[in-house]
């Protein structure tokens, strides 16, 4: 597929398979052969490839080179916080004392792991200003599910089962309404005002006895700090509802504001965004849930408690425990431990001083881009942005070049595309998040590329419309893929 340089990747594993090739030599059986079960239980059709070890290494290495990644490209994908992933984090997660311990080993054999988790709970509670923390949830959306189930459990315990409505801003991530629905809530849309804040009048109308709560992303997906946030929390609380915080954008607020102080009741964090754990092409993530004292009894199990008085961390060791009114176990074990080790390592290497410079530089980099591009890309909300800036390609659209075209053309310049057409309330949205780990030279080169593309949209709109031109494949026929799903290799092909 990729021409020049790498090995050919056009043949799939089953097409590379040659009978008799082996990729691994297994040890000889060192116990007496045992009787096999009934022959009807044994399979005779294991269709797996036969490839040599060099063949496997060459194939997957060549495949890797078809990807853009943070290590190889600037990746300004809004709302995804594609920052540098420190290598020491991975190294620590691979220590045998962490990677080779079994989740059901008794606590006396895993005190080091439990202490790490206990300290991480403390760190995340301190950073968010929240009293309770559970690390059991395995991704951001998983944390959302746990959080909204906690809200439901709280209302039910108060005899308030009539609170069936979850209000979610029109700018929210799709996971918010999907999670609310999985927790049995009816989703109602909350409008944004002209400044990009939650529309307080609309909120007042929804704030009745059937309101379970609201799900707010702060800063919002417009990259803006909601100037009404304290008032939003007050209105919801006054109506008996609870405020959920989607922590996807916490990179902007580290050390600058605590969601607990602002009035949020329960939030999740995305460790694979804010806390630098690698995204891995779509996971693993981790979505710890942090909450106010009133919701702590409902946290997903397990949490780590100290064996000292009042569950404090002491020399008497640590245990896994189930919160009093827990919504239950939400994953197989105790969370994505390997990801939690990485996040712990990150927080320790930054410390109190470093944490704040993360948000400072992330917000500075975003505003630097905003300022340098605002004359040629339309800025729908003309305010100081937080960690990301949302432009619109409306001006380019007048020349027949869409936001999609601009984004695809960026790939030719060696930059990953921004998030496009999201949030849904911005026409032709281009959502750009540079993160703190990019230097000014990279930002300047990116600015120049977007200026060049704007010029191209005037001079050669058709060329931009058909971008990218230099990638391993050009635009793919997604409609055909959905109409005639081909989801696996089959021998007849």
């Amino acid at each position: 597929m990729l021409k020049g340089g790498s090995r050919d990747t056009s043949k799939l594993l089953m097409e590379r398979s040659v009978p008799g090739r082996v990729g691994v030599v297994t040890p000889e059986l060192d116990v007496p052969v045992q009787p096999l079960p009934d022959g009807e239980l044994l399979r005779d059709n294991l269709d797996l490839p036969e490839v040599s070890e060099p063949g496997v290494v060459q194939y997957f290495t060549a495949l890797s080179q078809l990807n853009f990644s943070i290590d190889t490209q600037f990746y300004p994908l809004g709302s995804c916080t594609m920052k540098y992933n420190p290598k020491v984090n991975d190294e620590m997660a691979f220590l045998p004392g962490f990677a080779a311990i079994h989740p059901l080993q008794p606590p006396e054999q895993s005190q080091g792991a439990l202490e790490l988790l206990y300290r991480l709970q403390d760190f995340l509670g301190e950073i968010t200003g929240m009293a309770g923390v559970s690390l059991a949830t395995l991704a951001g959306a998983h944390g959302e599910l746990a959080g909204v189930l906690m809200m439901r459990a709280h209302h039910q315990a108060n005899g308030d089962a009539g609170r069936t409505k979850m209000a979610i801003p029109d700018s929210a991530h799709g996971t918010n309404p999907a999670s609310a629905a999985m927790a049995g809530f009816d989703v109602v849309t909350l409008a944004s005002d002209a400044e990009g804040n939650v529309d307080l009048e609309a909120l007042h109308e929804l704030a009745g006895p059937d309101l379970a709560g609201v799900m707010i992303t702060l800063p919002s997906t417009l990259g803006l700090f909601d100037q009404n946030i304290v008032e939003v929390c007050r209105i919801v609380h006054e109506a008996g509802g609870l405020v959920y915080g989607d922590g996807a954008n916490m990179n902007a607020l580290l050390g600058r504001a605590k969601l607990g102080d602002l009035g949020f009741d329960v939030i999740h964090l995305n460790l694979h965004k804010t806390f630098s754990t690698p995204h891995g092409g779509g996971g693993p993530g981790a979505g710890p849930v942090c909450c106010a004292p009133i919701l702590a009894p409902y946290l997903a199990a397990p949490i780590v408690t100290g064996n000292g008085a009042n569950g404090s961390g002491t020399d008497s060791g640590y245990s896994l425990s189930i919160p009093e009114k827990s919504i239950g176990k939400i994953g197989g074990y105790h969370g994505n431990f390997g990801v939690l080790v990485r996040a712990y390592t990150y927080i320790r290497t930054l410390g109190d001083a470093g944490i704040k410079s993360i948000s400072g530089n992330a917000v500075l980099n975003a505003n630097y881009l905003l300022q340098a591009l605002r004359d040629i890309y339309y800025l729908p909300y003309d305010r100081t942005c937080m960690h990301e800036v949302v432009f619109s390609a409306d001006w380019q659209r007048l020349r027949g070049v869409s936001g999609l075209d601009v984004a695809k053309r960026l790939l030719d310049y060696g930059f990953h595309a921004p998030t496009m057409y999201f949030p849904l309330i911005v026409h032709e949205a281009l959502m750009i998040e540079p993160t703190e780990s990019e230097n000014r030279d990279t930002l300047d080169a990116f600015i120049q590329a977007l200026r060049d593309i704007n010029r191209e949209s005037e001079e050669e709109p058709d060329m931009v419309h058909h971008a990218p031109h230099t990638t391993p494949v050009s635009r793919l026929d997604e409609a055909n893929a959905a109409r005639h799903p081909n989801l696996r290799w089959r021998p007849s092909e």
């Binding site: 116990v31 020491v88 004392g97 304290v230 050390g255 102080d261 092409g281 779509g282 989801l487």
Partner: protein, 450 residues
Amino acid sequence: MTTAHFQSHYIPNTEEEQTEMLATLGLSSIDQLFHDIPEEFRNPPLDLPAPLSELEIQKELGALAGRNRPLGSGPSFLGAGAYHHFIPSIVKALMTRGEFLTAYTPYQPEVSQGTLQVIYEFQTLISSLFGMEVANAGMYDGATSLAEGVLMACRVTRRDRVAVSDTVSPIYLQVIRTYCQAHGIRIEVVRHWEPEVADDTACLVVQYPNFYGGLEDLGEFCQLAHGHGALLVVSADPMACGMLNPPGHYNADIVTGEGQPLGIPVSYGGPYLGLFTCKEQYIRQMPSRLVGRTLDSQGRDGYVLTLQTREQHIRRERATSNICTNEALYALASTIYLAAMGKQGLRQVAELCYHKAHYAASRIEELPGYALPFKRGPFYQEFVVQCPAGPAEINRRLMESNILGGLDISIPPYSDPLPPDLDQGMLLCVTEMNSKDDIDALVEGLAEFS
């Protein structure tokens, strides 16, 4: 608290550069960028420890890791859903390449063909391993994958009653309950030898091999479920499918599993990999990502995320699941693992586990005071032993010889479905990692209680 200026090695722009960049905004300090935060809440005290250098953090974490007992440090016979298998070096070497490790979800297919093609390979290999028509591109883990399978079966059948066999992992059962709590779904735990399925049951849920190690008759379960218009949902061990007929062979409708045995470290319970497969007729009710093969504008083969109208970023509250980020890196790990093990290697590993486990079981059965209550039925790499003393006490003594024994199933929730005379049960697991010497040492240790 650190008071002097601290420049993190993860942040390239120096104070001087920051000042110059601020000047383009007409500002003089970074704090000015945060004026939208109400002043009373701005810059709260932050009680975190001071930064550590890499040298120091390696020492600190090395010490914490040193207080855990890794499986490789002595004979270990603990399984129960997380399994100690050999992982070839190439798995880590390839999966930690920055191009895979530090890429995002492949929403831009032109620059993500590596990840996308890997996922297509993953879908091919996993559906083949389970004998199913379609596999998705990953769920969180075995427990949540099974829970999503139950929710999907309820959507497909439009029924809200679920029969879960009492030999399904008690841990998985708890997760099913968590996932179903807001949907008015009735969960009924049924006896595995006589599962009750009614005409309004959405699905019968079983595990293969079951939590206690046994191999039950999937064909019979399937007939029973289908006879009532219900689906058969199976949680299967992918490694066992290296030698055993897979659930698809018996006409199961949804087959999920824990992908951890396929090249993923036990890592104190995560990250793991949820496997999820089903019959093709149900794909539009499937949760999570799917990758499809198509053509680019120049007629070349390529891969894209497809059928996305099922997913949360398009369908929002009407999506088949809220799942977004899942475990793609471990889907890669398992694909590399399966490619390397291949047709012969996977079968060999499965057979090593089988023979070693059966050798161990036969040696333990000979010990006075020990019994194998489920011995009459076939099993794979795990089996229950009724012990002459409390399993916790036996395990404590074994650990004095640095042997990690099996899971104590004399306590809830593991003991819930067990007969009253099986009151000192231990669930032992033997894999290719256990040598004959390891097994003999275990038998010797157990013999002390005979």
